[in-house]
C-alpha cells in the first residue's frame, strides 16, 4: 500500500463537496492534484484523457453501402441492439458512474468518475451517430419505442439501478462493474460479427474505441472495489462474494433471455452466449474474483476474437510455435530511451 497521507490538518478539518450531504457543517476543500494519495487515480486519469475521442471523428458514412446491403431484419435487429446499448450507457452516464462519486476513497477518484460519466455519454451519443448516419427517423423512433416497451431491457436496467440508489457502496460498485464489463457485450458482439464479414467496418472501429474506454472503466472500478473490500472483515467479504455471484447469475440469465430476442432471428445466439460468458469471466476478474465459466464454455469464435483484437486468436501457448514476435537473436543493451518508439 503506497498511499501517501494528506497534510494532516486539511484532511481533519475539511471534506470534499460530496461529503457535504453527510456533514454540512464541515469546511469544503478544493481538489489538489499536487497531493495525489493513490497513484492509480492519476495513472487512470491520464490514460482515459489521452484516449479521448468523439463519434464525429469516425467516418461512419462510409458504412452506408454495407448498411444498404443488409436485410430489413438485420437492420431492425441491429438498431435494436444499439438502442439497448444506448439505454445502458445512458444509465451509466447519468446514474451509474455519478453515484460512485459519493463513495470515492480519494478526491481524485471523484474526478476520474466525472470523466468516466462523461465518456459514457459520448458512448451513448455515438450509437445515435450510427443511427442518424445510416438510418431514418421513423425507424430510429421505432427502435426507441421498442426499448421503452421491452420488459427484459427494463428489468436488466432496474436490477442494477436498485443498487445504485441503495445504501451499500460495495454493492453499488459491483453492480456498476458488472454492467460495464458484462451487460453491454452481447451488444458489442454484433458489430464485431459484421466486421468479420467486412461489413460496417467503421462502426466496428467506433465500437473498438468504446471497448478500449470500458476496459479501463472496469479495471478501475474493480480496483477500487477490491481496495474497499480488503478493509472489511471476513464475514462482510463472504457476504459480498455471495452477493456478487448471485447478481452475476441473475444478470447472466437475464442477458441470455434478452439476447435471444435479438439474436435468435439472426441465427447467432449460440455464439453470443459464449461471448457473454467470456465477458462474465472478465467482469468477475475485474472484481478480483475467480472466473466462473470454464475454458470450454468461453471458447469464443476465433474470428470474433480476431475482430476484437488482431492476433489474439493466435495461440501464444508455449510450444505452439505461433506468435509472430518470436525473434531469435542476440539481445542488445537497452537504455531508457530504447523503450520509446
Amino acid at each position: 500500500m503506497q498511499e501517501r497521507l494528506l497534510e494532516p490538518e486539511l484532511s481533519t478539518v475539511s471534506v470534499t463537496p460530496p461529503e457535504y450531504r453527510r456533514n454540512p457543517a464541515a469546511r469544503l476543500r478544493p481538489i489538489n492534484w499536487n497531493r495525489v494519495q493513490d497513484e492509480k487515480d492519476l495513472e487512470v486519469w491520464l490514460r482515459l484523457t489521452a484516449n479521448f475521442w468523439l463519434p464525429e471523428k469516425v467516418p461512419l458514412s462510409n458504412d452506408l453501402p454495407a448498411w444498404k446491403s443488409l436485410s430489413e431484419l438485420q437492420r431492425t435487429q441491429t438498431m435494436r441492439v444499439f438502442t439497448g446499448l444506448t439505454m445502458l450507457d445512458t444509465l451509466q452516464a447519468t446514474v451509474g458512474e455519478i453515484c460512485q462519486i459519493q463513495d470515492g476513497r480519494t478526491e481524485h477518484e471523484q474526478a476520474v468518475y466525472t470523466n468516466i460519466a462523461f465518456m459514457q455519454s459520448v458512448h451513448a451519443r455515438s450509437y445515435s451517430s450510427v443511427f442518424s448516419t445510416l438510418s431514418d427517423t421513423p425507424r430510429i423512433d421505432a427502435a426507441y419505442r421498442w426499448a421503452v416497451d421491452n420488459d427484459l431491457l427494463q428489468q436488466r436496467c432496474k436490477s442494477v439501478m436498485a443498487h445504485y440508489y441503495g445504501q451499500d457502496a460495495l454493492k453499488r460498485k459491483v453492480a456498476s462493474t458488472l454492467l460495464s464489463s458484462l451487460l453491454l457485450y452481447a451488444g458489442f458482439y454484433l458489430p464485431l460479427h459484421y466486421s468479420v464479414h467486412a461489413t460496417l467496418t467503421n462502426t466496428a472501429d467506433m465500437i473498438r474505441l468504446i471497448l478500449r474506454d470500458k476496459a479501463i472503466h472496469g479495471y478501475y472500478s474493480g480496483y477500487k472495489y477490491q481496495r474497499s473490500l480488503a478493509e472489511q472483515d471476513a464475514g462482510r467479504q463472504r457476504e459480498m462474494h455471495q452477493f456478487t455471484q448471485q447478481l452475476l447469475q441473475d444478470l447472466y440469465e437475464l442477458e441470455l433471455r434478452y439476447s435471444a430476442q435479438l439474436y435468435e432471428p439472426l441465427g447467432l445466439m449460440d455464439d453470443v452466449a459464449v461471448f457473454v460468458r467470456y465477458n462474465a469471466n472478465k467482469a468477475m476478474m475485474n472484481l478480483g474474483y475467480p472466473a466462473p465459466f470454464s475454458a470450454a464454455e468461453t471458447a469464443v469464435n476465433p474470428t470474433i476474437l480476431a475482430a476484437l483484437s488482431p492476433g489474439s486468436e493466435e495461440n501464444h501457448d508455449f510450444f505452439s510455435g505461433s506468435g509472430s514476435s518470436y525473434v531469435i537473436g542476440r539481445a542488445e543493451d537497452t537504455h531508457d530511451a530504447d523503450w520509446e518508439f
Partner: protein, 160 residues
C-alpha cells in the same frame, strides 16, 4: 544486503544469490492483479520493485521467465511498465531473460499484451503465453505446465 519483505508473500531483495534467484520474475502495479496470478501459480517468484529508487532495483542471477502486465490503451512506448524497462536495462538481468508471459485485455485491440511483444522484440526472446486480467484457472494450469516443460528444454548452463 538485508532482505526487505514486501506486503505480499514474496520477498524482493535487491541482489539474489544464484541459488536463491527464482526462475520467475514478475511486475505488478498497486492493483495486484499480476501478483495474484503469480501467487496462484504456487511457484517461487521475485517481484520487480514498484519504487526502485527507494527499494533498490532487483538483480537476478539465474535464467528466468518474466511475467508482466500491459498498460493498455496508450502508446507503444508506454505499454511496458517503466520499472520493468529499468529492470531490463541492467545488462545482467536482461542477459538472463529467457521468455515473457504477458497479462492484458483483448479490449485494447491491437495493443493486447503489447508489453510482451515489446519485450520479445527488444530482447530477442519468445512470448510464451498471454492471459487476460488476473487469469482464469485454465491460464494458471496452462502456465504451470508450460513453465515446467519450458525449463526442461532449456540448457542447464545459465551463461549466455
Amino acid at each position: 544486503m538485508t532482505l526487505r519483505a514486501t506486503p505480499d508473500s514474496h520477498v524482493s531483495p535487491p541482489d539474489l544469490a544464484p541459488e536463491d534467484s527464482p526462475n520467475l520474475i514478475y511486475f505488478s502495479s498497486v492493483s495486484g492483479n499480476t501478483r495474484r496470478f503469480v501467487e496462484r501459480l504456487g511457484m517461487p517468484a521475485a517481484r520487480i520493485p514498484l519504487r526502485p529508487r527507494l527499494e533498490g532495483m532487483l538483480h537476478v542471477n539465474r535464467p528466468f521467465v518474466l511475467i508482466v502486465p500491459t498498460y493498455g490503451g496508450g502508446s507503444r512506448s508506454r505499454a511496458l511498465p517503466r520499472q520493468v524497462a529499468q529492470f531490463l536495462n541492467v545488462p545482467r538481468n536482461r542477459s538472463l531473460l529467457r521468455g515473457v508471459i504477458t497479462a492484458g485485455n483483448t479490449n485494447f485491440g491491437q495493443d493486447y499484451c503489447l508489453a510482451g511483444t515489446v519485450v520479445a522484440e527488444k530482447c530477442g526472446i519468445p512470448e510464451l503465453y498471454r492471459f487476460e486480467l488476473l487469469g482464469t484457472p485454465h491460464d494458471v494450469a496452462r502456465v504451470r505446465e508450460g513453465l515446467t516443460l519450458f525449463w526442461s528444454t532449456q540448457p542447464t548452463d545459465p551463461e549466455d
